[in-house]
Subunit: 295 residues, 4 copies
């Protein structure tokens, strides 16, 4: 049994904490919204993040953005300075690599090991314990983390040094946005030229057009059952979250003077979709709607 | 044994004809370049396309562009008018759907069944008999064609009515261009932020970034063996051919008033790549070079 | 006084013919829609295009697309073969350069001089006789045409040989689409960051952001009076017509293997705008709406 | 006579300071590079920025990026805390609006008036005193600044409150990048279809394609004399600086969740141009080279 502190009990954090408890760990939780703490059965609510972090073996954070992570650890009332040097810190938030590196450097200066370990797999993966962790940081620290991460996810990748987890996730999600929109575009082109979207999907899937979006998350309504496209794009991975991740990709590209023409266009297409269809709370495969004629 | 006429013995046509002969068919070939006919061992060279088509069970054409197909069948000296009504016509050329439909309509008026059956799989697939055929036309005609197509390829898809084979291939290859360039872009973004391209490839492949280009045709030099990226982009599917297929996609989108922003950008990126690096005769995964800093 | 035949009395053709009559010419008109002929006061309606073209000094056509022009002159019942060699032919339609060149070559073979002379200036320019003519063809033929063109327009440019008028107009309108959408984008960016669109317009107009769209055709509602943006984008140059011209630009780029990434994106943005807002019959400056948040 | 402190004597700052001296002001200068201070004839070199700012009527800064401005005024050794409340601060640097607003808020809290006043017009405008100032901040503060700005520039625009000068400049330069690249694209399309670039330029200039880039800064070699395109793109406004400004536009768009598809594509085209042709130190109209066939 490991004692684990856990900060951030949103849609992702709550089921992740629940899986840690189910695996037999002692989990001390904190969230600014008090009700979220009592909703996680078997968790030990704390009165502050500092209390949740006090003396634990592992401390995990799952927060919305870089500024929250920075504030939690190294802000004016940051908890890092009070943490035990033996605590392993794992930040599972998806944030900009610069902040991830800055906070990890502060942790190292304090004497703690810290990993950035953003996840993919969405709320479904969080509930079922099948998340993918993409980890940046020291390889030995990752070995320490494996048993804990293994209770929450099915795949663990080591992307490189501090921040590399964030960069790899950003690259992956930018490519995902491109191929989801590209798949929607190819399907719409076929349909407006008389093809059946299911037949075209089948052909491209077994040909060189195959990709994750087409193969397991088809955006065209009615082609695949059990995906958001078949329930009016409810649930899934929200357009607003994809726009957030694309924003991180754009910032990373700007900071490294990288050319990302397709990524930039995908970013703008998702924004136009969000604006013209008020689609922020729909699944991101709803980008298909942008391509379909209204009448 | 089937008697087969075959017109067009280029890089694709020659090995396709050879596989038909190897399967025991009687193959009568024609090409404007005489030497190409004598190079196909076991084939019966003819003095004209009309001679190759005279009285055969099946007639196959494999030509560079729509104007060649139109000219062969329904031009001033077109062979269609002299063909037997019992001959099944299979055009394996990749051409614009409009021409495919026009020629198929003429064949129908004449009394012949005709299929458009563009292929994917490249010269390797043609040599090894593992091509994919994407077929448009009547389902019964496709049943007649299966034994012959099966001698040249491993997969046969029925996309729909006349022209649908061309449309499905166009959609597939537009999506392929998007995901090849998108993959190159994501890899370059990762590398310029310190990631190892092989590690990043591995992570994205097993995550939602997975796609045909990343999974089996990695564009980054040194990541995957046996692909064009590991032999200076020699061989494979040429940039010039991808530009041809993207041109067909753009025409099809214009004709159907479809929005294809990512496909259009991919088209222009391949053109810029061809222009700035004189890359027309390199494999299309060389688009990776457009994204790498010259230093 | 010149005898002039005129085919095509749509929104543009009718006022153009009326200006020729006002300038004292003898104008013989034909349109498939009989009522359109009687609406042009002072014109001499004919029973066919051939009748309108018989023995005139100058014959003018103003038709929707290349296929109409091709059909009129060199189709199955084409009028060219019956025309007098002394008749100067001026096609004012905006069509693809290939068709313009093909028809002009046929005219030359027949012994007639022919000019392609697409116009800009819209219905307002047609009514007021202030059109701009962008002319391709022989310089001496243009000198013959000047007095007639001068009765309908204020500016006459000689772009080059046959087809050059079409190419120059296509280039101009592609650039116009880019700068109209670019202006809309810059204004929306400023407004969403707190700027007054009128103040920002004024600053950019007198700086390096100045362009025709910003300077005389501001797309932001309420900034400039007397433009479509100030009357709910009614009237003006329709989105559908801009999409037609962008289609010609895309075809011209494909045929010449030219890279037009911004033009292609503008083309797709206008299409997305048309699709998502059913905007085909609005003025093209309504592209501004694509950029404005719905709420 | 006004006493003026001036920090930052680069390619822009030096001639600006020189024009203030020529107008009879007492100018106290500071730059980290000592030689730059002695090169400005008539200026009074100081040993620190704080010394240059001590007790002056007006203090002007002209620095490369937001972090320099932030550091100068409110960093660890920031000079703001030691400045007289009667000193008017004018920051002429082109930086991100967020930093501009943050520093201006600190100045206000300290009791000083501060303007953001980025310039356009390049080194030529700086030398000739014909710069354009785009100003954000209080209108009364701008009135105080006018006599000083007037010694360095010809046009002064009031864009709005603090930061508005930066936003307006960013919008303008994003539009400039779009229309420069769009102009290059239209010219290349025309040329590859046989048009003379000078003739096409003339036609578009007097038609709806007219824009600042086309009209006074033609990017096609040989069309216009006295512009960078006619001297191998030496001098002028560097690609690297345009990329910097486009980076600010992209950040501003991300922060305000604005859609800027054409601006994003222009950003990526300038980056691709810089990468593939090592063009960072060429004038930005050299984007024309990206569109011309290498042959």
């Amino acid at each position: 049994m490991t004692t684990i502190g856990f900060a951030g009990l949103g849609n992702m954090g709550s089921p992740m904490a629940a899986n840690l408890i189910a695996a037999g760990h002692d989990v001390r939780v904190f969230d600014l919204v008090e009700d979220l703490m009592t909703n996680v059965s078997g968790a030990h609510p704390q009165t502050s993040a500092a209390a949740a972090a006090a003396g634990v073996d592992v401390f995990i954070s799952m927060l919305p953005a870089g500024r929250h992570v920075e504030s939690l650890y190294i802000g004016d009332d940051g908890i890092l300075s009070g943490m035990s040097k033996s605590t392993l810190i794992i930040d599972c938030s998806t944030i900009d690599p610069q902040t991830a590196q800055r906070v990890a450097a502060a942790a190292k200066a304090h004497g703690c090991q810290m990993l950035d370990a953003p996840v993919s797999g969405g709320t479904g993966g969080a509930i079922n314990g099948t998340l993918t962790f993409i980890v940046g940081g020291d390889a030995l620290a990752l070995e320490r983390a494996r048993p804990v991460l293994g209770a929450m996810g099915a795949n663990i990748f080591h992307a490189g040094a501090s921040g590399a987890g964030q960069i790899a996730k950003i690259c992956n999600n930018m490519l995902l946005a491109i191929q989801m929109a590209g798949t929607a575009e190819a399907l719409a082109l076929g349909v407006s030229n008389g093809l059946d979207p299911a037949v075209l999907s089948q052909i491209m899937k077994e040909s060189s057009g195959g990709n994750w979006a087409l193969n397991v998350y088809n955006p065209y309504p009615g082609v695949m059952s059990g995906v958001p496209a078949s329930r009016n794009y409810q649930g899934g991975f929200l357009v607003d979250l994809m726009i957030k991740d694309l924003g991180l990709a754009m910032q990373t590209a700007l900071a490294s003077r990288s050319s990302v023409p397709l990524g930039s266009l995908a970013n703008n297409l998702f924004r136009l979709h969000e604006q013209t269809a008020d689609a922020g709370q729909l699944d991101f495969s709803s980008i298909q709607k942008l391509y379909l004629r209204k009448k």
